[in-house]
């Protein structure tokens, strides 16, 4: 490490905790996690409410299986064609999954939503992490990882609380509809914060 790099890791400034290069992607993923947490926390209560507990039992299995099979392909596409080739589509598919979840009245539709969420949010999660690594030099990787996961946890932590406050007002379906709208809006935010500057696959800094 150079002296300058070393001084960046010492001291008790904001830069000791936050890596600014990880903030835009972190904020995007914060919104993603906020919306995903509505699924992970309230799915059990929601499916009980609409009488689809049988399908709910394998909801997360479908979700995980879809992630397992699509992630290698998504990762390869990410490396070959840059993050934008994956991120926009992932956010849109994620929003569609939430819409399908909000209108589901049959078990098969609920599982279709699980597949969409796996493809959308699963890719979003993995690619967000990969973008963080891509935009950060090695000596700031600790802070960048911390920043990224802190934003993810803010979303994952605030999500259930916000959804819980929404449910008495809008019902479960309305709440999932609002989450879908937030996800859709985060496409625009991702574009402004990171997407429009990302362009072609960048040369690795290390």
């Amino acid at each position: 490490m150079t002296a300058e790099q070393l001084s960046e890791t010492k001291g008790f400034r904001l830069s000791s905790f936050i890596e600014r290069r990880a903030v835009p992607v972190g904020l995007t993923l914060m919104l993603g996690f906020l919306c995903y947490s509505s699924v992970s926390t309230f799915l059990a209560l929601y499916t009980e409410d609409i009488g689809l507990t049988t399908a709910a039992g394998i909801f997360f299995v479908v979700y995980a299986v879809v992630i397992f099979f699509t992630r290698p392909l998504v990762g390869r596409r990410f490396d070959a064609q840059g993050e934008n080739s994956v991120m926009y589509a992932a956010i849109v598919i994620f929003a569609l999954g939430l819409v399908i979840l909000a209108v589901a009245t049959r078990g098969s539709v609920l599982l279709l939503a699980a597949a969409f969420l796996g493809l959308g949010f699963g890719s979003l999660q993995a690619c967000g992490r990969a973008v963080t690594v891509k935009v950060t030099p090695p000596h700031r990787m600790g802070q960048a990882t911390s920043t990224f996961y802190t934003f993810c946890d803010i979303g994952l932590g605030l999500g259930p609380l916000l959804c819980g406050l929404l449910i008495p007002l809008t019902g479960y379906r309305g709440m999932y509809g609002i989450m879908a709208a937030i996800t859709a809006a985060s496409v625009v935010l991702y574009h402004l914060w990171h997407g429009r500057r990302a362009g072609r696959p960048a040369v690795q800094p290390f």
Binding site: T9, S16, F17, S37, S40, T41, F42, L43, A44, L45, E48, F60, V133, P138, M141, G142, Q143, T145, S146, Y149, T150, D153, I154, L156, G157, L158, G159, P160, L161, L162, C163, G164, L165, I167, P168, Q204, F206
Partner: protein, 101 residues
């Protein structure tokens, strides 16, 4: 990630050559991460329902009970991040595991 910047250089991971995933250390880290994720997701998924079924709380409180973990996360993580290499990654992993179980 190209060059290893994370754990493997600290605890003597496998060399390059595309077989890093076969090394014992990688398998152990994989397993630790896997089990942590299982526990975390199970808690996250079950917490709100348990809070509602057993204690009859409102959805907002049920959501809050699922999201309380961020308090601990915020209390610890910002102070740990700049000191990861100072304290040692493996030692932090041990401390975290002991606190959790």
């Amino acid at each position: 990630m190209g060059t290893t910047t994370g754990v493997s250089d600290k605890i003597g991971g496998a060399s390059a050559g595309g077989r890093a995933w076969r090394s014992r250390n990688f398998m152990v880290i994989w397993l630790v991460n896997f089990l942590f994720t299982v526990v975390f997701l199970l808690l996250m998924i079950v917490m709100a329902k348990v809070a509602t079924d057993r204690f009859g709380v409102s959805p907002a409180v049920a959501g809050l009970s699922a999201s309380m973990f961020i308090l601990g996360s915020f209390a610890v993580r910002p102070f740990l991040a700049p000191r990861i290499h100072q304290i040692g990654q493996v030692r932090i992993l041990y401390i975290g595991t002991k606190t959790r179980s």
